[in-house]
Structures are given as C-alpha cells and as structure tokens.
C-alpha cells in the first residue's frame, strides 16, 4: 500500500522511557529487596518475596495478554471471519512479542522454582510436602521437573505455532492477488495451523498453565473455574491492547481500510469478554460462598477477610469488580461508545489496568500475606513490561506492511458493516 510505516519520535521516547523506568525499578529491586536472600518462614524478609511475586505477576500477566492476540487471530481464522483482516497485522505484531516475554517469564519462573522459593510456591518445600497429605497427593503434578518441562513446552509451542501463523500471513505479501483455488488452499492451510494452535491453547492457557503458574501459589486450594477466569482476564486485556494499537495507527494515518465498523467489533469483544470474565469470577465466588467449605473459603478470606475482620485486599478485590465489570458493562454497552475512538481508548486503558489489578490480587495474598505493597516498584516493573511490548510491536509494525493486501477475505473486511 503506501510507504512503510515509521514510528513517530514520541513513540520511541515513550518506549525507551518506560523501559528506563523499568530498569531503574529492577535495579532498585536487586539492590534494596535482596532477591537472592531467602525469606525466613513466618515473616522476616518480605523484600525478596515481594521482588519475585511482582515479577511473577507482571511476567505472567503480560505474556498471556500478548499471547491472547494470537488466539484472537486463530479463532477468527477458524470461524472463517473476514471483518478482522483489515487490522490483522496489529494482533500479529502484538503476538510477535511472545518470544521475548516468553523467555523473560521462563527465566523468572525458573529462578523461583530452582531458587527454591518456598515463600512463592509452598509446594517446593519437600519437608512440608512429606507431612502434608494434600500436597503429597498433588506432587505428581506440582513438582519442579514437571513444572519446568511443561512451562518450556508451552512457551515454545506458543512461540513456534504463532511464528508459523505470522509467516503464512507475511508470505502473501510477496505474491499477487490469489485466484480462487490458491486462496481456498491458503485458507485451508491457515485453518489447520490455527486449529493446532487453538488445541494447544486449550491444553495450556485454558487449563494447565494457570494451575501451575498461579493457582499453585495457594497450593491447598483449587478451583475448576480458575483457568478460564485467567484466560478471560487476559483475552479481554489482549483485545484492549489490539484496540489501542489500532487506534494509534489510525491516528498516524495508517490502516486505511479500518473504519469505525471494525472498531465497533473490537469494542464488542471488549464488552462481551468483560461480561464473560465476570461470569466466571462470580461463578467461582458464589459456589465457594454457598458451599462454605473451610478449605475453599480460605482463598477469599485471605483477600476480603470475614465479616468482623476485613482482609487487607478487600478494597482491591472490589475495585477489581468495579473496573472490570461495572465500568465496561455500563459504558461499553452503548453503541456510540464502541464507535468512538476516544472512548474506546479510555476503556481499553481501564480494562488493561483493571486486569493487572486482578492478577495482583491473584498473586499477592498467597505470597506476601498482609505485607503487600503497591509502590513505585510495582508500577516500575509493569512499565518495564509495557515498554518491552511497545518495543517489540513497534519493531514488527515498521518492518512489515500494515495491511495484508493479498488476504482472500480483505474485500469482505473493507465492506464490513456492523
């Protein structure tokens, strides 16, 4: 189409600024929080726990968020969707960050596992597991070896399958417009790879990975809703991230075929999956509240406390519900809002922040107990990850055409009408 997109100076400034802030926060953590000292059992060195808990929260959250955009590409491909083709390069660009964040996440997880951080994962403590029938029963799944191997496989598969999807899309730029037969074959090949990705996504993000990475922090507790709830959280944030980059590019005069019709559909995803997230959040909460089993209610008591004694996370817990349910429900419900570039930007930022809070309250109560903090360090690490995402996405956007001009469904996307 038109000339290759070049990043504006302000984007680069923000990217390196955020990474700079993040690196400072990381340095602060290394120097002040003593990450390699061990937390004594039952108190003592909260600093080192805080360092690893914050890194765990941010790396897992941002990795799953960028990975969600590849899931979006794959499900729309499998559904023979046409409307998203005009903006398809944006989720592709976001998913190209998976390898970088994947490696970072893997390093963090390995440091926790092989650094024997029993303050993060209680099940790493062999002595405790031996005398604990519940943890002992789970040790076939919750053990360092399985954790390492399965995490490595998961990250590698997201990386490779995502790379395959991206390279199939980029290949089309070199040829001309496809004729009917070639187009049909290309769509079929795409669908097969998308299905493989989706199946593996089901086995990882929608089930085992959240069990291993996050749910095992509260190792005695379990919930069958947990993985879906995590998935919904990251998918809705992923769609918000796609919306932000689409709006950014549109503001720079790129993505000529994207109109408010496409924005409307992205907005619908943000709305629908906010409600879906709430559905899972509430189902998990209500079943535990209703059956009132001590081993299950423990999870919520750690967060909101009991009637007489409010827990330290009560405010965040309900803020979570307001940011991620009430705001999207009431604001994004209106058609005019989903078609308004400014309002979608505001809502996207709100949703991404809201789910970051959600992950915060998933990780902190089990690791930091009542000592969690939300200080510049926490936000600095988040800035580091946002900066890396901006850097990776910017790299992809400047090195490839922004419209998949030979995609067989491009016309369908251009005339798309909601």
């Amino acid at each position: 189409m038109n000339n290759q997109f070049e990043l504006p100076g302000s984007y680069k400034k923000w990217t390196w600024g955020l990474i700079g802030v993040g690196v400072l926060a990381l340095l602060y953590g290394f120097i002040m929080l003593h990450p390699f000292e061990h937390a004594a059992h039952g108190g003592g060195n909260h600093g080192s726990t805080r360092f690893w808990a914050v890194l765990l929260q941010n790396s897992v959250y941002w990795l799953l968020v960028v990975n969600a955009s590849m899931f979006f590409i794959c499900v729309t491909t499998m559904a023979m969707g046409g409307w998203q083709v005009a903006l398809r390069r944006v989720p592709e660009a976001i998913s190209s960050v998976v390898p970088y964040l994947g490696i970072i996440t893997f390093l963090v997880l390995m440091a926790i596992i092989w650094g024997d951080r029993t303050d993060i994962y209680h099940w790493l403590d062999n002595e405790a597991v031996k005398h604990d029938p519940i943890l002992n029963g789970k040790s076939g799944f919750l053990n360092p070896k399985f954790y390492t191997i399965w995490s490595a496989i998961a990250i590698l598969m997201w990386w490779l399958l995502g790379k395959k999807m991206r390279s199939m899309s980029l290949e089309t730029d070199n040829g001309g417009t496809m004729d009917y037969e070639t187009g049909k074959k290309w769509i079929w090949k795409n669908t097969v790879w998308a299905s493989l990705y989706a199946v593996f996504f089901g086995l990882s993000v929608a089930s085992t990975i959240p069990w291993l990475w996050l749910m095992s922090i509260d190792a005695h507790w379990y919930s069958t809703m947990y993985s879906w709830y995590t998935f919904a959280s990251t998918f809705v944030s992923g769609m918000s991230l796609v919306a932000l980059f689409v709006i950014f590019l549109k503001n720079r005069g790129q993505l000529e075929y994207v109109t408010e019709e496409h924005l409307h559909d992205v907005g619908k995803f943000m709305f629908a999956f906010s409600v879906f997230w709430t559905y899972l959040w509430f189902s998990q909460y209500m079943l535990i509240w209703y059956s009132n089993q001590p081993e299950e209610t423990k999870y919520f008591i750690e967060r909101i406390g009991t009637a007489g004694k409010p827990g330290p996370y009560k405010g965040l817990f309900f803020l979570n519900l307001i940011l991620n349910f009430l705001c999207p429900l009431l604001i994004l419900m209106k058609r005019g809002i989903k078609r308004n570039w400014t309002m979608v930007t505001v809502m996207a930022v709100l949703i991404i922040f809201g789910h970051w809070i959600d992950f915060y309250q998933m990780v902190m109560p089990g690791t930091m107990k009542e000592h969690a903090e939300m200080m510049p360090f926490e936000f600095g690490i988040a800035a580091l990850f946002i900066g890396i995402i901006m850097w990776g996405v910017g790299r992809y956007l400047t090195s490839h055409p922004l419209t998949a001009k030979n995609h067989p469904f491009l016309k369908e996307s251009i005339i798309h009408h909601t």
């Binding site: 509430f282 909460y285 209500m286 509240w289 209703y290 009132n292 419900m333 058609r335 009408h417």
Partner: protein, 196 residues
Amino acid sequence: MAGGIKKFVVGSFDDEAVLFPAVKNVRKAGYKIHDVYTPFPVHGLDHAMGLRETSLHTAGFIYAITGTTTALSFMSWVFTKDWPLNIGGKPHFALPAWIPITFELTVLFSAVGMVLTFCYLCQLSPFVKKHHFHARATDDLFVMAIECTDKTNDAEVQTFLEKAGAKEINIQHAETGWWIGRYDREQKLYREEKGY
C-alpha cells in the same frame, strides 16, 4: 383504523441492485416513500431510505433495569421482611445467591419486553390485518410504495418508476393503518392497472 385511506403509486422491483439506486433517486426527486417491502431483510436499506435509528435497544435497557429492580427488591423483601428463613446459616440478605435470579429476570424482562415492543412498532399481532401492496413482496419482489400528496403528479411518478427499473407499476388506494377482521371486509380496494 388509524391511518385512513391514502393513494399510492406502487412500483415492484425484482432486483436488489436496481432497488437501491431507485430508492436513492426517488428520495432525491422529493417523492415521499411510504415504505419498501422486501422478501428478506436488505442490509443498508434503512439507511438508503433515511429511516432513523431504532430506539428499541433503549427500550430494552429500560426493561432490563426494571427486571433487575424487580428481582432484587422482591427477594430482599421476602427474605428479610416478609418470611425470613435460616438457609444453611447464610445471612438473610444473601446477595450472591440472588445474582443468578436477578440475571435471569433481567434477561427475561428485556427479551419479552423487546419482542412485544417490536411487534407493537411493526403493528404485528394475531388477528391484526394490514394492507398488502403486493402479494409477491413475501416471495421475490421488492415493493416500493410512494405516497401521493396534493402536489404529486401520479403520471410523472409512474414514468419516474418505470425509468428507475420497476417491473410492475400500479396505483392503489389503501388503508395505511391496521384493522382487526378479515381482508374481504376491507375497504373497497381498487387498482388502476397500467399494463406494464
């Protein structure tokens, strides 16, 4: 019979692609389109005809919050004032347990309310009859009815429709509102067939 009898020039088209420019040109020429009847929903026709956006969804939202309020107020009255029961040691004001029912009533009120409102707006109901401009509007013809006002010259409209690509053109005097009863008791309906 709310609308009263009016005179219409009715043009029938057999192609969507011809219909769209015809609608556009008829509006540009300043004629008053009464309605366009199609065998299936035609995407974008409402915009071409210049119809305003429907307010049905606003009605739906109002029905929905009515449902929410009904469910929450009824349950809280029953379980805290009228007939408090100890259920599994839960508090009387057991909000989480009420959410599913609140949700169901919200959906029920908005769904039923919107269906009824839709039927009302389209004047659809058992036993209610409306004039049909062309029987084949439910089969394969796109039927455009142009209302004749004092200033309309029917002959001119007919020529106009013919040029726009209409396959059949006639003039009808028809009831615009609805009535309850039978089609054969309808007003004396006559057509001026034109033999196109």
